[in-house]
Amino acid sequence: MRLHEMSISAIQHALGAGELSAREIARQTLEAIARVNPQIGAWTAVTEARMLAEAESIDTLRREKRPLPPLAGVPYAVKNLFDVAGHTTLAGAELFSQRPAAAADSFAVRQLRSAGGLLTGMVNMDAYAYGFTTENSHYGTTRNPHDLARIAGGSSGGSAAAVAAGLVHFSLGTDTNGSIRVPASLCGIYGLKPTFGRLSRSGSHQFVASLDHIGPFARRVCDLASVYDALQGRDGSDAFQAESSREQTRPLLDRGLDGLRCAVLGGYFTTWCDADARDAVARAAKALDVRDELQFPDAELARSAAFIISASEGGNQYLPALRREPERFEPHSRERLLAGAMIPSAWYIQAQRFRAHARQAFKTLFAQADVLIAPATPRSATLAGEQTMEINGQPLPIRASMGMLTQPISFLGLPVTTVPLRTAQGAPIGLQLIAAPFNEQACLRAARVLEESGIADARPAEVAA
């Protein structure tokens, strides 16, 4: 069996049975990355020495017949805004390229290391995490492994492309307004954006502190849940982490829909998308035994408020550098950041207060359903270099609007699993399965039902070398 055809639990079994060594996994993975990465432009740095050292640690455990940690020998990649000891944290920006190397791993990378994961390296993103296309003027465009002419989505485009190409079993991304869910949708894989505050963000380069989340990508729901379970943990250094107990979701996946009520989220979410996205919602709704369509009338305002908070906090963060060295900025987002820095404070505070209002309003929907279904993107992947897409009869800027269906949900801070379907033409398109705060297990279980039904399709793309 080829490495990418094995689930995380299959790797564990093979390692335990002595059928495979972690060093062999590392060697195969590094060779595949060297062969395929020039086509997709995902990795900005490969951590070969570290990966081989991590593999040696796992093989030592095997030789000594000691228990293996839950992600032992599993190759992964992280968005290049996570601190990795000994490497400069780029956040997709040339602006940071000369910064000193990180002294220590971020909290999430520490968790994955102690769980036995093998870090392959850091992957590309939209500069500053501000964009939905991963068309990065300095580090290059990350290509969609399913169609190299098309975007991978962003801002965690490298993370999604690395998994979609079958080069790693999982990756880490961040999601402020849709930066996990958009690339997961366009690249045809699963993504999890947990509840706001669930996972520690310590040691990652923030973009919008009020909205930033971290989360994993994978090609299997059980792998996604295993990684999410490993990422959990209390971190006193993250002021935004919520007080919540650890929840092990992997053992709950086989419960199916037992007790879960699913509904379609209509209105704004089924208006601002194309027929492919609506068809994907209809197929999932049938498989999840949906009878109701619910509405969130404040969705458009929620998107606007998220846009304003992002622009304002992001603009403020980069204002000193915009004054000092504007020529070093990503041209795609420089004036967008500057406009954000000039927002009147009344708009920003109104957006933050509206967030509390919208959370209360949305809460009533969970009295009627446990999981809500909505498209993750208005359409499947557009061509690299395209500036606008027509949705609902209107031309919209792709870089800012591919996340218009994800923004209202991350604004509310709700947990979402993205599930990959295919259009009639075979292009990947994803759905959001949205649950109440701290109910990640519900959206993961619904995702598992779609995976088992065969409606979801996360087969890796074969990228010719």
Binding site: T195, F196, G197, F240, Q241, A242, E243, S244, S245, E300, L301, R303, S304, A305, F307, I308, A311, L319, L322, R323, P326, R334, E335, R336, L338, A339, G340, A341, M342, I343, A346, W347, I349, Q350, A351, Q352, R353, F354, R355, A356, H357, R359, A400, G413, P437, F438
Partner: protein, 62 residues
């Protein structure tokens, strides 16, 4: 009461000076495009009456 459309060009010129940013005409034009997009989003949000005791949202409590 009539509502006048704000003069965003003048506002941005003021902000350019207040924040100490130096722009050429091309960057100024792009700034106006970007700011106008945000301003269009802000208008309906600012028109929404919110309870005067409503505070900003924090993290969820489990």
């Amino acid at each position: 009461m009539t509502t006048q459309q704000p003069d965003w060009q003048a506002y941005l010129a003021q902000m350019e000076s207040v924040l100490g940013v130096t722009l050429d005409d091309a960057r100024r034009a792009e700034l106006q495009v970007q700011f106008s997009r945000i301003a269009n989003m802000a208008a309906p949000l600012m028109a929404l009456p919110l309870d005067d005791r409503l505070e900003i949202a924090g993290v969820y409590k489990a």
